[in-house]
Every structure is written in structure tokens, then in C-alpha cells.
């Protein structure tokens, strides 16, 4: 699961930097399990885990043991949160493109709502269902 988490993070960073694009590619192959792991090479998962747990160890954090033991669980949680927030981001973007607000039911709660959407929404809170 850490490979998927790494892929998501590096893919986003990869928009801005070539180094992260390379890492994203590595993580992608790791996700697809097509990496031919050479016995002398650590996987990207091991490297990431090493960086995170190593950082905690350096700070004498009691969390180090926890993170080490439950790294897979933390990776799952991270991926789940990322996927859920990605879903809502895409949904919001779609609504914005279509209705001028990311939250058509309550346009006033969407920071980037257009004036027109705000006016229309206040008059009819369910206007997105209007045919």
C-alpha cells in the first residue's frame, strides 16, 4: 500500500519536479508489482519507511515503534484519505465548471462560487436539480 501512497504523493509533486516524476514512475511500477527487485536494492517502500521511522527515531519519539509496526495500516489510511479527498476535489471541480460553484446546494459555503451562482442558489437551494 505504501507504493500506492508514494505514487500519489510523487505524482502530485511530479507536476513540478522531474526528480519526483522519476520517483512517481518507480512507485507506479511498484504498484503494478512489475518491479524486478534485485536482491541488492531496497524497494521504494523500504526507503520511505526508513525516512519516516528514521526521522521519528532521531527525535526519540515513542511513535517510531508504532509507525514501524503499523506502517501498512498508516499507508492504507493515508491512501483512503487521499482517494476520498481526490474524489471530492474532482466532484467540486465538476460542479464549479457546470454551475459556477463547488457546492451547488449551499453556494455560500463554497469560497470560489461565482456571483451568479450565489444569487441563483440563494433563491433556489436545489437549483442543480432544476431541469
Amino acid at each position: 500500500m505504501i507504493c500506492l501512497a508514494a505514487f500519489i504523493v510523487f505524482a502530485i509533486f511530479g507536476i513540478f519536479s522531474a526528480t519526483h516524476r522519476r520517483l512517481a514512475k518507480e512507485a507506479f511500477w511498484c504498484v503494478l508489482r512489475r518491479v524486478t527487485f534485485k536482491p541488492c536494492q531496497a524497494s521504494i517502500g523500504e526507503i520511505l519507511k526508513g525516512k519516516i521511522v528514521g526521522w521519528l527515531l532521531r527525535r526519540q519519539s515513542r511513535w517510531a515503534g508504532w509507525v514501524h509496526r503499523y506502517f501498512e495500516v498508516f499507508s492504507w489510511i493515508f491512501v483512503a484519505i487521499t482517494l476520498i479527498s481526490t474524489f471530492y476535489t474532482i466532484k467540486g471541480a465538476y460542479y464549479y465548471a457546470r454551475y459556477g460553484t463547488c457546492n451547488p446546494e449551499h453556494p455560500e459555503q463554497c469560497l470560489i462560487s461565482t456571483q451568479a451562482a450565489l444569487e441563483k442558489g440563494i433563491k433556489n437551494p436545489y437549483y442543480c436539480n432544476d431541469k
Binding site: 536482491p39 524497494s43 526508513g50 521511522v53 527515531l57 532521531r58 509496526r69
Partner: protein, 402 residues
Amino acid sequence: MIQDIKKQFPFLSQEKNGQPLVYFDNACMTPCPLPVLEAVDKYNREFFSCGGRSNTHFGRQIDNKVAETRELVAKFIGAGTPQEIIFTKNTTEGINLVARGLNLQAGERVLVSDREHNSDLIVWQVLQKERGIELVILPSKSDETFDLAGLETELQKGIKLVSVVYSSNLDGYTLPVEEIVKMARKYDALVMLDGAQAVPHHAVNVKKLGVDFLAFSGHKMMAPSGTGVLYGRLARLEKLSPLLSGGHSVKDSHYDNYEAEDIPARFEAGLQNYGGIIGLGEAIKFIKQVGFDFIVKQEFELNYFITRELKQIGGISFVGADDPKSRGGIVNFYHEKMDSHQLSIFLDESANILTRSGRHCVHSWYNSRGVKDSIRVSSYFYNTIDEAEKLISALKKILGLV
């Protein structure tokens, strides 16, 4: 004394996250001390030129420096003449030069030990496929030491070349090379030694040993990376074909023929790594100043301390011989509950301690023993007991996670 020596290594004085660097990967590469760095820098800044063929005063200066280094290397390993010293880019190239240059025929037998670095295994497997030579792998005894009786049995069946590691990068074990050479002589077999882990760590004398070929790398003995040496007895070199041919390896050429250069130029085709060679000379001077007595003593003390402390941590198994006396500067081990790569990364990230994890290019040994991988701590004379204590304390902290 060590602190003074250490000051000569800019690489070793680095810090990360406020932690000083502890370098325990010396079996792979060693950093360059100031005299080496300065010599290479001087070459690049002041007399960088075309060596071997240029009549400028810079060209001559390079030729002189290279000749000086050749002499220095020859004396350092006890060669008969500087002619017997061929500069290569690493141990691997030296071994390949001999393997290919001997022009072995189908059915001729080459014997290697069962703890060879890939550098002294794969080329023979390739020749097995290409030319039909026969590769004999001599198993170690049950205590992981070299089987001299087994060697004699194989020699009696006919062996063209015995090619073995002098000191192993797997566990630091030094093979009984004197006996090996003596025995091989009795049966008219040639002997090549992979000296990558021997030449930097203890005195080697090729003439006394009577060995035919010895290959080693400069970057494991404080010289710049991409430097190496192949020693060959003159009589043997005369019968050896070069691995590469081209500029500098011929005296003259016509459209239909050429006249080969003398030895060693014949084996050093193309422009060379002059800066690296000059650096190698300085590295040898540095080793001589430190002295092998000190190097051997320091490595043993470190090995003894680390082994003793590791034995007190549960779940650790050692690779190779148990006795630190037979392991030079190498302690190679694995933990039953923590992956070796993970352990090495944790040491790096949490304590700035550099080790090496994996199969250390001796995959065949790991595959045959069913061991997945291991973590190797390899020291050199500039490592201290204080650093070894840091290593043990970091290991205890990390292994406390499982």
C-alpha cells in the same frame, strides 16, 4: 592518532541533522584523504594534458607521474618490475582481462571458490557458454574455511587456472593463499587472486606468494573511483591477449597490420585515467605512512568489539566464520525479524551511519545457503571504537522496534 588521521578526510567530517557521519562501508569504497584530493586537483588544474603521446612538457609530466606511480605500486605489492603493473579501471576489468586474454579452450578447467564476488564468477560462466570451458566451484568446508584437500583433488583431475578471492568481501575471511599457490604450482596450474579486499588491508607480496595474477581496485584503498591494477608475472603477460586495443597499445599500424606496443602499454589502450592513477600513487603513500601493522590491529579491535556486542543482541546470525580474527574489517550479519535493507536505511536515516545491505555481489553464496540478504559493517583504520559504540547503540534502538 586516529583523530589526526581523520582530519585528512573531508568526506568523513560531514554531518547530517547534527550527527557526524559514521562510515562503515569501506569494503565498497573508501574516501580520499587530502593528499589524494590535492594531487588529483593539481593534475586537473596544472598539468592536465594528453598522456602517453604528447611531446609537450605537460604530457611528459604526466608520463613521469604515471611511471612513478607504476613503480610505487610495483614496490607496494612486491612485483619484480613496474612492467608487471597494468592500470585498469577496477578489479573486475583486471579479472576480465586475464579471463579473456588467456584464450582458454573448450574443456579447459578453471577453479573458483564458492564465495567469489560476481567479478570472479560471471566472466567464467560467460566463457563457459562462449567457449565451452569447464568451471569448477570448490565448496567451503562446513566451518566456511577453504578446503585445501578438495583443491588438491580437483588439481589432480587437471586445472588450468585457480582464480580465487584473496580476502573475501562476504565475511573478510582470508584464504590460505600461500598453500593454494604452492599446491597449484605442483600441478602446473596458474593462479589469479582477486585482491580487492586484501591489498588495502594487509601486506601483500606477489613475488613471495609466487602468484601469476593479482587484481585490485584503487577506490577501496583511498584512491579516486575508477582506478585499478592488474599485476601479472611478465612471462604470463607476454602470452596474454589484450582486452582492449587501439591508441597507445600499438607502436605502428598499417591498413593490414599493426605492431603491438611493449608490456604494459599493450594492455592500456586509449587515454587513461591519469588523475586517478596519480591519486592512486598518493593513496599508496598514505597507506605506507599509516602502516599495515596499525591497519590490521585497528580493524581487528573494531571487529572484535562489534562482534562481541552484536552477540549480546538477540536474533542475530553472522555470515561466514565466527571468529573475528579471521574476518579482517568485516562483520556481516542479519537479524531474524528485521529486513537487512530496512535496518541499513534506519541506521542511515536515524543515526547517519552508513553500512551496506544486500548480497554484496556474492549472490551465489546467499542462494546456495538460502540466506535472503545481510547487512555488512566494514571498517578501515580511521574508524574508531567510539563509532562502533554509536553503531551498536543505534542498532539496539532500531531493533527495539521489533
